[in-house]
Amino acid sequence: MVTSFFQPGSSFVHHLDPRPKLIILIVFIIVFFLPMKLMLLSLYMLTICLITLAFLGFAELVRPIRSILPILLMVMLLTPPFHRSGVIIFAPFGFPLITSGGMFEALRLAARFSSITLLFYLYLRTTDNDNLVLSLRWFGISFNLALIMTIALRYIPYLTRLYSNALDAHRLRGSSVNVHRKSFYRRFLKSVPVLTSVLIQSAKGITVLAMALETRGLGRKNRRTSLLNLKSGSDLVFDFIYAGILITLLIFCFIIFH
């Protein structure tokens, strides 16, 4: 099972500090929700596509777009009927089903959704889980929330194995959870004992985990130290300068073309 979306690499985006990357991500998303011409939105989308293509390659550009193709298709098919502005293009039985305004709105939504998907993909593909949590901490997320996130990410593979073991144990006792002939409801009922076993084991693990955290000093008043740290010094300054240049260009284009 996938426990991280991160793909190790040596590109410029990989080396960029996660904090300026997160700022760029947030600024881009805010800009995408501002009212703008379709041409400018397409220009932004093209820029993100080119960045992905240049630093991650063609396969990494196609992968996220392929995963959202069904949604994009739905957007293109179902958005026009809800917008009646503009020139009527198709009106069966006198009902204006497709208008130019509806088509533009569908294209705008599809471009925005694709761009946001690519941005998130680019960020997560080039930032590992530890750096992601540390950058969120730097932006003010509480230590407890960050710790919950870190522990949960470590626990997911363990719980997956636990579920798999419980499933095998129940199968050995004659329970057939995944038999396709059975009705959905019966299959669902058959899975309840397996899930109960997983949940009881998980609940029992809570006290053990709490004791482990207390042993490591959680809840004490002493100054907290950190095993993992984000980079600092001139590298960080340069990363922020790069981010600043990109954001300035983004806003400059927005003002010029708007």
Binding site: T3, F5, T79, P81, I148, S191, L199, T207, E214, G219
Partner: protein, 182 residues
């Protein structure tokens, strides 16, 4: 730490409760899937974990476990664009369901408990479906968001059908679990 009786709620216990339930929600969303024969699709059990957390561990654990668990599942499954919406919507779903389920919690009648839980799950369903419709409208437009609505309702019904029996079964099989509620 004792396994029975009311336990003092230390920060470590709160953090570990939330972390384990977050992982449970993520695994129930990502891994535990029940195939639906006619459509050849799958039904994930993320909502089962959210309702289980709300009824067993209370609103705050359900808020964090529901919100963060589904957001992590979105991040790991390759749909990170939905993660902020999932965090807010499923978090609110767990919070409201947990708060309603906790009302008049001194009652010992199992029928009352079940009715309260059912009401909590119905309100949770409304919160989740409305939230996803609103979030989806912002992200992909009203038309595409509306298509997701029946799927969300079915997912929630499965969550109610699974969450209530699971919460009752776990309470019966492992009674100390009621002490983890806060």
């Amino acid at each position: 730490m004792k396994e029975s009786g009311k336990m003092p709620f230390s920060p470590a216990l709160r953090i570990s409760t939330c972390a384990v339930l977050t992982a449970v929600t993520a695994v129930f969303t990502l891994v535990v899937r029940i195939p639906i024969a006619p459509t050849r699709g799958y039904l994930n059990l993320g909502d089962v974990a959210i309702y289980f957390s709300a009824f067993t561990f209370g609103p705050f654990t359900a808020f964090i476990a529901g919100g963060m668990g589904t957001a992590l599942a979105d991040l790991l499954a390759g749909y990170p664009q939905w993660a902020p919406i999932s965090f807010i919507v499923h978090g609110m779903q767990g919070l409201t369901a947990g708060m309603i389920a906790g009302l008049y919690s001194n009652s010992k009648s199992s029928i009352r408990i079940n009715l309260r839980w059912l009401l909590a799950a119905v309100v949770g369903t409304i919160v989740m479906c409305t939230g996803y419709l609103a979030g989806g409208t912002v992200l992909v437009g009203f038309g595409a968001a509306l298509v997701e609505l029946p799927g969300n309702i079915i997912q929630n019904l499965a969550g109610i059908l699974g969450g209530i029996p699971l919460a009752l079964a776990v309470r019966r099989a492992y009674p100390p679990v009621v002490n983890f509620r806060w």
